[in-house]
Symmetry: D2
Subunit: 483 residues, 4 copies
């Protein structure tokens, strides 16, 4: 195995003859990790609440338990010779040997908040089956319609969830619990938890929802309530920090590629010079647009909020489209709804959830392209597609269903073990528990305009890359280099 | 943020009052990595072949390059207090600053071997678009029908691949190149490479195919040929070691859940006591059966090669099915084709690819269940579904299309940079280059019968877990704990 | 409009110059229908049961009513000069001006029998919504698991169906009522109807089920029960006479084309000489195999029960496959499960539903093809796919959902109007009521081996047609010429 | 069989006892057809062009031929006692015993015009396979991008089509030929036909395209060109007269139900009072909206161009929505793009194809509903989905693929036999040839606002029906009562 023996590169100068051996003296670059900065999750016991669940071995024949001594490294990219290095670590999720809560006396509640996302029902089903079927919890409330379901007068009352109730819900999109935006009232929610003797609250939602969840966790402690609050991050935009990807995201990408396929077909077939434009969700993060571009391989131009749009000039969008049209006779454009704010101006208006109303980038872009081609004396046939909610209202695909199971189990194991104020996620392909403040600190994230995902987009679309140099500063921390 | 300050668990004894502060003296468990055992990939320069590609910056406006100083940690699960620890590392994949090959003078060839897998055409398309469109290679051969395509008389001659040729192939299942089993002849293949002036060979296939690819890499070196051989691991069974998952696997899981849905519908609706049995691929690894079970959430019994089948007794399959039927009125069973060898006996026969012919576990199981229910005086309505090749002949879904893009780019960047004898993969959600001998050493892998994936299956199906204790010894290294 | 004036063909002899006018003297062939043989459906009033439903106008603002004076022609193919001709007619389905039953006092029951078929839940939902929502019937029983659900001890009791209960059932395959084969006991069923005060029974099933339904209608009359029994024909094989097509059939064809697509991909990609063989349902009628062949356009050989299989010789299957392989390099074969009985011999065994057990034509065919190619010194790669229940367990597609709505409405309108012993169907694209004895007399039908559907199959597959001359005599009346 | 004997209804007065026999004297209503008004298609022989194709039996082993003596009845709904009646008839499509054209000397051309529609590629493929494979025509031109492809300078030149070229095109949406609107120039097209020695032209398009095709047929005759021009009707709106349904329509309905499912999920889950609004294609005919409503069974309000929109009052849209919301908590609305013109006013603008630009009914409706609920003090959560081109750019489903095969074969058989100026269609579930002027006279059609399809929509949605009385007069003949 000569190759294996020569796996280290030696600076050869200009060796003219082929060597069938190689020097092994030089050990090459070395790597090490001095210290792991473990992002610890709080346990109710440390706050003075006595554990009384007993041994977890009674609930299931576990092969082994996870403990606080198990850590998942958060930074897996190392540089050689970089000196002593501290990397982030997260507590590994999974069943603990001791239960904090006695299932027989425990009541749980589940609430889903914010916009829809593929997999919400999978999360609910998996939470119920592990809490009820695996751990034996007898009463699980499903809170109706987000945070408002705890408090709104005239709103549907919470339902009792069971494995039977959830038998087939995961095959449908949406959430059987309903959802809404806003309506967070920590005092009233904690009152409700107390009144219903609920000691485990599972909150599924975005970074705003998580901030609320953390307040609930703190308020429960302040009130002396032995309550675990666990989050499960939900975002159709994949803009939650730290985690590999959020559940439902790849399903949404998959649906988005259906719209792109339609746009490509329209562009290819409508002569002359068919141009299909697809608008996708993504207010401040272009992950959906970028991943749909990478997954579909049918896109010639991708516009995202993180990179300013340049219309004219040698690196402009319009000349690029002309070149594509000249070469192929048609073109496909994907634009995230939040792109082009620098051109259109941000609206001062906000919607009920506090989100800024976005300028109509899709329609604007179509009009500009039409104008440009008309001015340049070329006919162009524009077709505009906005799949909007169609990308998020479907059931989770197999990959996301699997991910939802991982996350629900991670949250349930952590909560039964007595942790609180945490959320769960897949980090470097392992399930971990993350302190909510860490998630809040790094969310919403946006795509790194000089990172590898965007570089791949540029490589595949061949669109001009100058904008790289003019990376906009966006809120949150741009995700690094994954994957 | 009281919770954050108290994130470390303190052994409380029996604190009766709730504390709103916590001691911070004890630092808790600490983690570190003493040394990274980097699995280096061989560079052609170390073997005496002079690089003459020049600067990679000319090909594309990269934001930054990856170098041999970039490492991806292979082990991300750490134990505290475990003493100085050495973990595995892999070379990060990605564009290098210097090219080994000059694109203008370089010819590449692509070959796909073994059984079909979703995403093969995505791999081919992405290889061609990055080699041709991004790097500017002018001639790329598509070898017809696997290794035999290099040598078979009367076989289709290799075609020349171009971006135009590959424009839409990724939307179809299968491989435009065709595939076959066997037919590996290192001498003839190297002759062909030499005759055609091909200096980059991309081989897509399983562990056997990779072993062949490594022989080719070695033989090229021995012959003084400046040729890079790169692999891309392909397996419908997800039984390749080291990597997070193989491309196409989740798509196959998704198709498998269609068969399971059919079986569930038949079981639910055909009275009395409907039982749907689905046989899935998986000769020696049950990942497909296990993941389809976890993704569909509709399965009551999952049988895999890694765990022996016990039919009778308190922990037996048949009494479990009776209990399920008594509770729900119907049951769904998933069985991997390689399960139950210990009951049926392995056939001595092998097929053309050297695979052992498998006993007909599906039909056997159906007959045994019928017999059992008849004997116990209960009617049962059995429905058997074998989707066979339907799970593998479809196009890659969005997630796998994205993965195929990552892998093809990783292989192309590595090959252009001058590495050889390597394969690529997603490890801890990062793309890496892996020396083929490492892949060969750890493949085929089987599922860990005491690992977390199987534990999740047991939790969800509620099937008896005693078999855990009787884990069969299988070839290869069982994958650990992912994810 | 010169063309329009010359629309009749005149025997021109050898007119050398182009005429821009044409003679109009000859009127050409003429067509007429002397008499329509209307297949009347029995009304309960003619049997002495007084109608007391009153005016239907109260239930809904109909634009117009259908009456016994409305007829749908059953034979729409006429021959000129054929002399006075009698054609079949059917009573048009639709709302009648007078109701026989008073919705307030009426109870209905629905039962689904036999094997699954796409659209069963659509039928149930549409029956419930029109009976409850449109007509105002208060109590509708859903009988569990076919005819046995009326009588079996220990079986699930009938459930009460409502629009709420049925809200989303139509999006799932199968039948929420469950189904079974056999178990027909007319006395007990009529007792049950009487005991539950049910005066409308809707029976969904095949020709055997319909024969039972007619016995129930007769027995009710004999017992003096004012009960309407209406059928809705269900068959996955499309082998019910008279009607254009049965609900769910095109959905099954659609699913079957998925299996064919998989077989084509395997055949195309597996070298050398890939041959994909797909077995489809169809015990005595090959409609599913034939329509899947016509819809997929990917099939090179289609074998059905109606046409004997000839393996060798100039018109044989095997030489045809060799020719296809020589031309294209691969081939796709579709075989109905009931084909080839003349070669394999019919089994004397019957299953619980009285269906003969079929010889394993698929496996046999694969073995014969392998043997043949081996003998002729050619390698061939055979891939066998049997989608079995996967083609029938899915939900109805849009076309079949629409058809199910038409049929359920037709049955409900007819039953509310007081007809009994009838079934419904689409005949020449119009909904009609058909006396059950007419349906029973013409069912099961098989495909006409000298008809146009088979001719189209032969044209598209290019398979040898000699077998046409050796049409087998099959039970039932072969469908004529549709469409 | 007592029921069968009593199938005719006798006016019973008040028979108190049940009769088990019945009088048979009265024969009941009788039906007959005095005369069939056959809509003849012109044969080139009648125009003085000599046939020289010889016997068709040489091309294929037909079981039987269709002749001018074969007629398909167009009116299959008869009224009893209606006196002597004349019904419409059409010439049955199918192979004729004599060919007008000698395949060896014949060249054909195919052109696709207007907007995309599922199945265009199936039409092209089936035309090519029957012309080339079945009849043996050697040269078939595929004209690029609609009528403009014959004449536009700088446009893609016509390609030569073959079975190989078309091997898999039918699995993709769109048309491989490309399409465009307008550009019809009869003189230039006939010049092209003459120059290329093309004697069969197949034109796929809407009623406007067909009017052009008829002009071409006439001009060819006037120029002494022995050319057959055959049409195949294409419309995504199903607004072509006479035929049962147009190809691709049910596929579009199927895709539309995906958007409706998304709207329903959003409406159900977004609290409080979720309302999903889906806009569908349909400028002047609401078939797509109506059929999608009937197929999805999830719609509470359907608005179409044929029925004026009433917003307020006891029969208004807004109070209806309030009632639905009060009962179910959510509502789903489908609106055709051409609905509400009477409220919004028709724009004077027209697009390149001469279509009037439509007012933005979808956005207007969403705004009105929001305003209404706000005014009435109820929160409502509106979600708007416009799938636009996504419903038409997909490949044909199995049912439409089958239909496309029927139509392509019908056109090819008719053209080979020497007919010209005709189009083809499914009428009463039989393939016929229709003189183009008949199609033009009855197209575009709109939905009958007092017909059965709309009545079914009203029954299922429970929306107010008063608008029935105010049926708008629309261009074209409203389709009658189908089915």
């Amino acid at each position: 195995m000569i190759l294996a023996r020569c796996a280290r590169r030696v600076p050869y100068g200009a060796a003219a003859v082929v060597s069938t051996s190689c020097a092994l003296a030089d050990e090459g670059p070395t790597f090490s990790v001095e210290k792991v900065d473990l992002k610890r999750v709080t346990h109710l016991q440390t706050l003075g609440f006595r554990s009384k669940g007993g041994s977890n071995a009674k609930s299931f024949g576990y092969a082994k338990f996870i403990s606080d001594d198990d850590c998942v490294l958060g930074d897996v990219l190392l540089k050689a010779h970089a000196g002593p290095r501290e990397v982030t670590g997260y507590m590994r999720a999974g069943p603990r040997s001791e239960l904090h809560f006695d299932p027989k006396e425990t009541r749980a509640a589940i609430v889903t908040c914010g916009g829809l996302c593929p997999g919400l029902n999978s999360i609910v089903k998996n939470l119920v089956t592990i809490l009820e079927g695996h751990y034996g919890i007898q009463k699980i409330y499903g809170v109706s319609g987000g945070y408002r379901g705890f408090t709104s007068v005239g709103w549907d009352a919470p339902v009792e969830l069971s494995s039977d109730y959830c038998e087939r819900i995961h095959h449908d999109g949406g959430t059987v619990l309903g959802t809404s935006r806003g309506g967070f009232d920590a005092e009233k929610i904690v009152e409700w938890l107390k009144a219903k003797h609920v000691s485990q609250l599972f909150v599924v939602g975005g970074d705003g929802t998580h901030r609320g969840a953390y307040k609930l966790a703190e308020l429960c402690v302040a009130r002396g309530l032995n309550v675990s609050v666990a989050g499960i991050p939900k975002t159709i935009d994949n803009d939650i920090g730290i985690i590999d990807r959020s559940f439902g995201f790849m399903t949404a990408v998959s649906e988005a590629t259906r719209a792109i396929a339609a746009a490509r077909t329209e562009a290819e077939c409508n002569m002359p010079n068919g141009i299909g434009v697809v608008k996708l969700m993504g207010r401040s993060a272009g992950f959906l647009a970028a991943y749909a571009t990478l997954a579909s391989q049918d896109v010639d131009l991708c516009l995202v909020p993180e990179v300013p749009i340049v219309m004219e000039g040698p690196q402009g969008v319009l000349p690029h489209l002309e070149r594509v049209i000249d070469r192929k006779g048609h073109a496909v454009v994907v634009v995230a709804e939040g792109a082009g704010e620098e051109l259109l101006g941000a609206s001062a208006e906000v919607d009920a959830g506090g989100n800024k109303k976005l300028p109509a980038i899709g329609e604007w872009l179509v009009a500009e392209i039409k104008k440009h081609f008309k001015a340049s004396g070329k006919e162009a046939t524009l077709k505009y597609i906005d799949p909007s909610y169609m990308v998020r209202s479907v059931a989770a695909d197999a990959g996301d269903s699997y991910l939802c199971m991982l996350l629900a189990h991670a949250a349930a194991h952590g909560s039964m073990a007595g942790y609180t104020g945490f959320t769960v996620g897949l980090v470097n392909n392992r399930t971990v528990m993350i302190p909510i403040p860490e998630l809040a600190r790094t969310s919403p994230r946006s795509m790194n305009a000089t990172g590898r995902t965007w570089e791949r987009v540029l490589s595949i679309t061949s669109q001009p890359g100058i904008a790289l140099a003019r990376k906009k500063t966006k809120a949150g921390s741009p995700v690094d280099e994954a994957p």
